[in-house]
Amino acid sequence: MLKTNLYERHISLGAKLIEFGGWLMPLHYTNGIISEHLNTRKSSGIFDVSHMGRFMVKGKDSVIFLQKVLTNNAEALQVGESQYTLVQNEKGCVKDDAYLYYFKQNEYLLVVNASNRLKDWQYFKEQSKDLSDVILYDATDDIDMVSLQGPKSKEILLSVLKKGTLPEPLRNKLSIIYIGEVEVLVGRTGYTGEPLCFELFVDKKCSLKVWDTLISAGALPVGLGARDTLRLEANMPLYGHELSESIPVFASHLAKFAVSFSELKGDFIGRKSLLKQFDTFKKIEKKDYSGLKNLPQKQVPFELLDKGVARQGDSIYINGNIIGHVTSGTAVPYWETEGQGISSIFKSSYLLRSICIGLVSSKIWERDIVEIEVRGSRIKAIAMPYFLRNEAPPYARAITAKSLLEKETTAESLENIPLNLEILIKEAISNNHWRQNECINLIPSEMTQSKIVKLLSVFDPSGRYAEHKKIKAFYDSEVFYYQGTEFIFKVETLLKKEMANYLGCRNIEPRVISGQMANAVVFGALVDYLNMDDKKTEPRRIKRVINHHIIKGGHLSAQPMGALKDYVSMDPVTEKPAVTEFPVMQHDPYALDLEKTKEIILQYLPELIIFGRSVILYKEPIKEIKEFIREQNINCLLMYDMAHVLGLSGRFFQEPFKDGADIVTGSTHKTFFGPQRGVIASDYIEPEPGYKFWEAIENRAFPGSVSNHHLGTLIGLLAAVYEMRYFKDSYQKQIINNAKAFAQALSENGLKVAGNPKLHFTQTHQVIIEVGFKNGPEIAVRLEENNIITNFQATAEEEGFTASGAIRMGVAEMTRFGMKEDDFKELAGLMSDLILNYVNIKEKIIAFRQRFLDMQYCFEDKSFEIFLNDLIDEIKK
């Protein structure tokens, strides 16, 4: 029997051993499977997985070979990436499942199951015979493999990391690090469902040292027993259970990630049957059961509702008819939790539940109730959507049948409605009082409007329609579809003029009602513009976009998952949206790396570059990029999403059109004074080609995106632009001075402030403090309990917002309420006391706020009071 290089360690750690795939492996250590499972979910588990097969694939025909024998698209991998893949047979069933790693140029590493290693090896040898340059090498005995999984894994790895950086916080990313003097290849992969997951590849001579180092740093050893319960709870398949040479690939819910029909793959083994399965799979997911013979069964996770433990082979019934059988099943533990939502924490107690995966009729649907024959009696079970969710790092959280079934709510009866309305009014007043009189509001994307702006926003024409369109037959006159719109037309015309004046450009589209919509309109219009001269074929999308990645502070609305989704092409190689992120400086991820940006512009020749971010500390280098693309003669649109900094446009920050932006979008309610709306601006002149793009934007706004463009807030916005134009020099200067003073003071008080100290950390209204991995949510909640409203923010190294290690703040709103540099210094002192020393400052904050209740930079002095009263009286009539 084979033993791994860590065998002696397993013995000394008290492992109970079993034979698995020809290897003598630890089943569990002294504390047992349950405790190892729970440790992995709450802390960090370390697994010796050196028994798995590791094949190196080299040579210039490697990709051709991998494309043929594996289901996924190997060519999509860039160095530093990995993918889940399957080894398929001609029938479209599973010979094995595997992970393909691409750590180093021209060298692929394929990890296969221990029990299939020989079978796979012979098969691969056979399949590579006809290719002239494929070198296959079985490296199983040369490289050891250790898996480190669970919420504390990252801290543990960082504590022993000597050189290099961990892979970016996205699944399947890879990097090379050094633990001591040992080179370790790291992948963010795993078989536990943990959001913080790492698999490490180490030369066999050094694996013992790495294992010992990680154990001393706090990792807890886990055997194959808990490896199996963890993967079952993660609803991940195991060869010999959920996968086999007679089970179709698409019976597994992971197949849609593991199978590619990219043109780059050409014809490959089993393609025809896989395509049939895929078509059926897509239908089944929409409850269309035609073609079911291609995929009669699928894998479904079940939780047992009564006492009993389902095991492999148990039959599954619905209405007395057998519909399949259990492929894996046992009882698994999960931590009990207390608290709700983001405050929910694991207690020190656990519960057990009985779960299984069944290979059952493809007609079974989530929440269907089935019966499983367990040792002679039929036990009810429910088809679960999943057993575990890992989108709130650093923890993977159990989703139980009980919590799923408890979700029903009932509607209120009619007689309670007047009382409910009364409650609503009282609560609205008390919330208003709290936020406006007792809180320090530091959310950088928020603003309070002046009383005049607020009141004007609820006047008639709120509740009206004023659709209008420019008609060329009338020399570009705006034609309205409804009567009674003269006033709002005047307001809109003035708004366009004033806003154009403010931004220093010619054209304004004010009808978009949010910043997100403004971006969607621009992207849609760009697609229209690109296809303007071809009306007969399918319109093509934008070929390539460069933007700020969301994990590096990019706007949601500039992401393929946001407003860009329907407008950007798929990259045929990576099979992902053709979006490339701005490179950032390694020592300061909030700063763009200009030289590398130029390189990627030349490499990708984008059609659109989107500047602007929701975590924005510095000016955007639009001028430099504009010059560069001019020099290189690259035809590319420069867009600046000024959402956060629209109210900073001017000489103290930057002037977008002077710098060379082609299009500016923004929200009117962050640093700007308006109600919540969006805006689009450009400086194109008719008849230059860009003006046709501008007209496409107007068309995408109306009728493309809005019919009613919310006329009430349009009046409020005009009043806000008046305020902004009148007060901008003093307001903008004060904001930037305040932000710098606040950042400086926070830093002096011992907090870690992000950004370049030479610039006093910030050039905008934003200030970011770094509070340590995953501490963001707790500190943001603590600040809120003390009446300081902020938001927690994931930094570029973090796996998701629940693992946030930063607090994002902005000084705009409180600047408007009159706070100056010294006031922000005072606030910084109070906040440091709270954050670092847990001092309760709530009463002090309420008292502090009393000094800043009167809004500045607006017309609210005595001379305007009479008009305010007129507005209120008019509404009360």
Binding site: K16, L27, H28, G32, I33, I34, S35, G225, T229, K307, G308, V309, R311, T330, A331, V332, P333, L352, S354, R375
Partner: protein, 126 residues
Amino acid sequence: MDEEIKYTQTYEIIKVSGNKGRVGISKEASDKLGDICLIDLPEIGRIFKKDEEVATIESIKAASDVYNPVDGKVTAINEKLKTKPELISNDPLGNGWIYEIEILDKAQLDLLMNYSAFLKFINQAG
């Protein structure tokens, strides 16, 4: 009163006290089973023959049956196991008992093994 512990070839134990016996599983059995997650207890009042299946223990790894060591009538079951089945392995000779029987044929006790004979038996069995 004399208390003695007897072992079966199927790894159960019976702790005899007068004409009553408390049945559980040996430490050696629970080591084989690993973490226990569920037990299906017998009904009070039911009579079981020697070697008849009485209960089922589910561990994370597998299910296994508990065989009745001597003819007897169930007089009590260990209710604590319903919420804490792990007691079966943590405290096999104390709080981890499974059920109590009134022994109907005391002569059958002589067919069971004492601890040293049991150890010998499991070593031979390999």
